[in-house]
Amino acid sequence: MRSPLNVRRIIYEALVRDQLDVNQRPEIWDCTTCTTCTLRCPKGLDPALMLIGLRRVLTEGGRIKPTVRDALESTFKFGNPWGRGKAKRSDWAQGLNVKNLAEGAEAEMLYFVCCTPAYDDRVQAVARAMVKVFQKAEVDFGILGNEEMCCGSEMRRLGEEGLFEFLVEENLALFQQHGIKRMVTTSPHCYNSFRNEYEGRGFEVQHYTQFLADLIELGKLTFSKEVNRVVTYHDPCFLGKQNQVYDEPRAILQRIPGLQFVEFDRSRERSLCCEGGGGRMWVEASSARERLAEVRVKDALALGAEVIATACPFCLLTLEDAVKTTGAEGAVEVLDIVELVAQAI
């Protein structure tokens, strides 16, 4: 299987010939850091780490695409990669009566929203659904409001290790300042970074699907309405294959009354990456080959699914785009698990 992404060749060019140029090797930026390669390598090698190392060479030398540059500069200046102002970060929560720790409120659990649900119009609905569900289950939670800043997961994967370190320092200090002991995240990317990459963290962190699955198990979250849809679930790479959280999302979906759950063939550790991670939200694919997200949508249609459920803001946006580009609007819908839960409570 020939691929333009020949990691050994690229390393040779970078280290031996010092000829690496972002424009000559656009495929370096195609990688989504799903880490399937690392997980499958029979020799226990870590090609994903090597690729990120290559990106560090380029990024630290300033040789990156303008879209990546803008996302990185924005993250440093505004605490989010979307170029949006800090003062607008918690606008999504207006009128929802959410405790704001930045304004002195206290809560047992921090709901870490993530830059994408905070600012993206489509994904704000996910954050609002989360609040609805937490409030229904009488969870004692709060948000950091406008003080919340990017976890840095994508920045590290784009090769901006310095920016990542800066964010870790700032975030750990912020969490300490607010006495955060428990955290629940919307995004698997934030979950993965906080859980595995934030050394010295003094708090427990869960992805929201783990938290909600627990609530359902304990009888604190019950369903009163039916959601009569045929639903399949797309395992986000950063939740599934990287952190082995497979059962909880399924447990939630299967408890929703009326919901008919169907499983993708490529599911769990074999889940097909949607191509949203690893900085890909800011980088166009270098070739015109079929997008994996489009393959996923076609898989869902073949399965007879009306809804592709997922649990990641990037998967949500990428799969929704693919629904549009494959002309499947009206045939299949993409929803976050919490949105389905919110419909059923």
């Binding site: 990024t59 630290e60 030398g61 300033g62 040789r63 990156i64 303008p66 990546v68 540059r69 990185l72 500069e73 440093f76 200046k77 505004f78 170029g83 949006r84 102002g85 800090k86 003062a87 607008k88 901006e160 290790e161 310095g162 920016l163 370190e165 800066f166």
Partner: protein
């Protein structure tokens, strides 16, 4: 080619709420994010591109408070050789003229040293994002006694002369030939500024930023600040909204329907 670039550390007011201070002489800076002035960023990139082609050194100057070091470090991280910050409480209240005066004196002072820093080219952005005066660059050129061209959108260098395009209204370009040393004010879009990584900025911490004050420049107190300015700010105010759009209310479908009616009435469709 030795280049001097004058930059400014300005607040980013995108999506920020701007509050005028009680004394009406400035805005509340707290909570605002500061960064290099957009046009100046393009000027720095242009200098770096010229250095990559022709060699030489780049010196960056700014008139500002110690916080402006953030911008200077970013320039150093990108490959600028030397950074000088002109800081003095007495510079407060300087208008464009007094600011140009400070910069001119600093450039002359750098040229008087035992190891002089000379220049073939002085670059500035076309205007600052905060005051939008567009005055410092061209004023500085006159003070230095060198030819200038403002609103430069492209440059070509050959034999000590530069061919530059100035961007006029309507996208028209004025092409002119200018002898060096000269001053150019740089328009946004002339190039694609590179990225300065956090690692690069940290590395740049090793490079020293020189701070010069009034005394170091040998300027009299009356030549700077409000005393040295030729204009003075009376007050800031939020502009009165004279004409205002009729805001259409309702859902996207409702406003679309209203718009269609408006379009039909105006004979557009």
């Amino acid at each position: 080619m030795d280049i001097v670039v004058c930059v400014k550390h300005v607040p980013d007011t995108t999506e920020a709420e701007i509050a005028i201070r009680d004394d009406e002489r400035g805005i509340e800076k707290r909570g605002l994010v500061f960064d290099i002035n957009e046009a100046d960023n393009y000027a720095v990139e242009e200098a770096l591109l010229l250095k990559e082609r022709f060699g030489g050194s780049i010196t960056v100057l700014t008139v500002g408070p110690p916080e402006a070091d953030e911008t200077l470090r970013m320039c150093l991280a990108k490959g600028v050789d030397k950074a000088v910050r002109l800081t003095d409480g007495r510079f407060e209240g300087s208008d464009s003229y007094a600011t140009a005066r400070i910069l001119a004196e600093a450039i002359r002072e750098l040229g008087r040293r035992p190891s002089p820093i000379g220049y073939d080219l002085v670059l500035t952005g076309i205007q600052a994002d905060d005051d939008g005066c567009g005055q410092v660059g061209v004023t500085l050129a006159e003070m230095l006694g060198i030819p200038h061209a403002a609103l430069v959108i492209s440059t070509e260098t050959e034999d000590g002369k530069m061919k530059v395009h100035r961007e006029l209204e309507g996208g028209l370009h004025e092409v002119l030939e200018i002898e060096l040393p000269a001053l150019l004010t740089i328009q946004t879009g002339i190039n694609e500024p590179r990225y300065a990584s956090i690692f690069g900025i940290r590395q740049a911490m090793k490079k020293q930023i020189e701070a010069l004050d009034l005394g170091a420049l040998g300027l009299a107190e009356e030549a700077v600040g409000e005393a040295g300015s030729k204009t003075s700010l009376v007050r800031l105010f939020i502009p009165e909204v004279t004409a205002q759009a009729t805001i259409l209310q309702g859902s996207p479908e409702e406003v679309s329907s209203e718009l269609l009616t408006i379009f039909k009435n105006e004979g557009v469709i």
